[in-house]
Subunit: 275 residues, 2 copies
DNA sequence: GCGACTTTGTGCATGGGTTCACAAGCAGTT
DNA sequence: AACTGCTTGTGAACCCATGCACAAAGTCGC
């Protein structure tokens, strides 16, 4: 993310991944270095993206009461190869039991810690249009360690309106509110004209993580991590692959749902928004 | 895509991984092979994702009346390095003039053709909740070669309602409508419980391209291209990078907006020829 | 017409990521 | 206790992708 983002980022959907330097961890122990932090290993960007996917699948397995899962099963459910999955998990250290498989709850906790989801991230969202409301109402956040703490918009008609259990506030209060609410992640779902200004304000407020749905690439300082999801890019990539597919498979292939072993493509990013 | 991508994207951005076979074009000329199809070259997946981004930037330049743009400027506006951009474009064959730069409109047309956007893709969308409405109202589609031709939902309260210049139809009419409308791309923005069934119906209707916003990885036949955008995944990747950043940079870094080497978009007038 | 300057297009080296194949390790059985 | 069967974890080869550096190719000025 995007890059390919994504990303992928891009990203991407069109996720274009963020800017970025390598994923490497802390170069120097520096001051904070009291805790050894066992999960501080270098984890490849691509692996991080997939870990999030595994996490979702593990959540489903937990609900079903599954106790143990093998790499083969988990890989199939996630749409990746089993070898890749095992290598991904190996970055977190030994997690499974040979000859048996992985303990679902233990693995889940392990990934959550590695992704930093045990910190209770607080999210502020700017731009409460259709997309913003879809995001605000998306229940998946709470279940995955995020809590929406603030909604902002510049339209007077929307300010004051209740969305979920929050009330929309005016964007002028953004900087101060971010500090008060101790927000750590900012989401931009405004029209693209306003995106850069909102990003600047979020940066001024001290946020270091921004997720943008604006098609334009925003300019932020190096220390701010920024991901962009461009819906049109996703469609265009789809269009390209479509052209290649219909070209190489002119005759209608028999429809055999069910197999698929390989879902389609998917480079980075993934996601979910349930309306 | 089951796994995401997107990408990742993403993406977006980052991301990525499709499963799948290489991006290569048709393995065998087969029957249709009369037309040489000059743009049938193998284009790397990562490059395809970025081409879509370049296309958006070129659109902005066109609106500004820019005639010629150099790789340096276009790259800066797109958030990538100039060498990467030139290499990406080289997959489409020679496009620019040495010592001068790229003709904006010509390059735009070239990329559109390569991505298959000159086919006038017709899109149907299933699930007209907040997200669905956001997508339906997203002006970017029309400007980029896509036209929304059908909206469907299973909620009787929503069926018959006008959204944009279309009227929401019941999902039971989906298969027949897809054929009548000659749709080529299907977008799924339903709650996740309904996603798989909708996907099956789209496949039965003959669609070969599906973009899903459901977090679950859907099962589709091999010949169907499927991309998935999972918002929660984007947030989690962001969370991870956040953890790494704040760890390696414990002291508050000075905020210096502006640098970033990657201007947002506009390559200020320079060698660019403005009318 | 010629030289200097600018910018594209690309060969090559480097690094990251994916995949294969297999050794290491544990449970259950004999 | 040893054997069998299964699954994890990983070493190593392959492949894609990134970025550098430069030659090729065009324009501009004189």
């Amino acid at each position: 993310m995007t890059e390919t983002h994504q990303t992928h980022g891009s990203v991407a959907p069109g996720v274009t991944g963020a800017v970025g330097r390598s994923v490497v961890g802390s170069p120097a122990p520096s001051v904070t270095g009291a805790a050894p932090l066992p999960e501080s290993r270098d984890i490849p960007q691509a692996t991080v993206t997939r870990l999030a996917t595994y996490l979702r699948v593990l959540g489903v397995l937990t609900e079903r009461g599954t106790i143990i899962v093998s790499s083969e099963e988990l890989a199939a459910a996630s749409g990746v190869g089993s070898a890749k999955l095992r290598k991904d998990l190996s970055f977190l250290g030994p997690n499974g039991v040979r000859g048996v498989g992985y303990d679902v709850t233990r693995l889940r906790a392990r990934i959550e810690r590695a992704l930093g989801l045990d910190r209770g991230h607080k999210v502020v969202l700017v731009g409460v249009g259709n997309l913003g409301q879809a995001l605000a109402g998306y229940g998946g956040f709470g279940r995955r360690g995020f809590s929406m703490v603030g909604l902002f918009d510049s339209d007077p008609a929307r300010v004051g309106a209740p969305v979920g259990d929050l009330t929309v506030r005016h964007v002028d209060e953004l900087e101060q509110a971010c500090v008060e609410l101790e927000a750590t992640i900012g989401v931009i779902s405004t029209p693209e004209e306003a995106a850069q200004e909102v990003a600047d304000r979020l940066v001024r407020a001290g946020l270091r993580c921004i997720l943008s749905f604006s098609p334009t690439s925003l300019d932020v300082p190096d220390h701010v991590e920024m991901r962009r999801v461009d819906l049109a890019v996703e469609m265009q990539v789809l269009s390209f692959n479509s052209a290649r597919n219909t070209e190489s498979v002119p005759t209608a292939p028999r429809v055999r749902i069910g197999h698929s072993a390989v879902p389609s493509t998917a480079p980075r990013n993934g996601s979910v928004i349930a309306p």
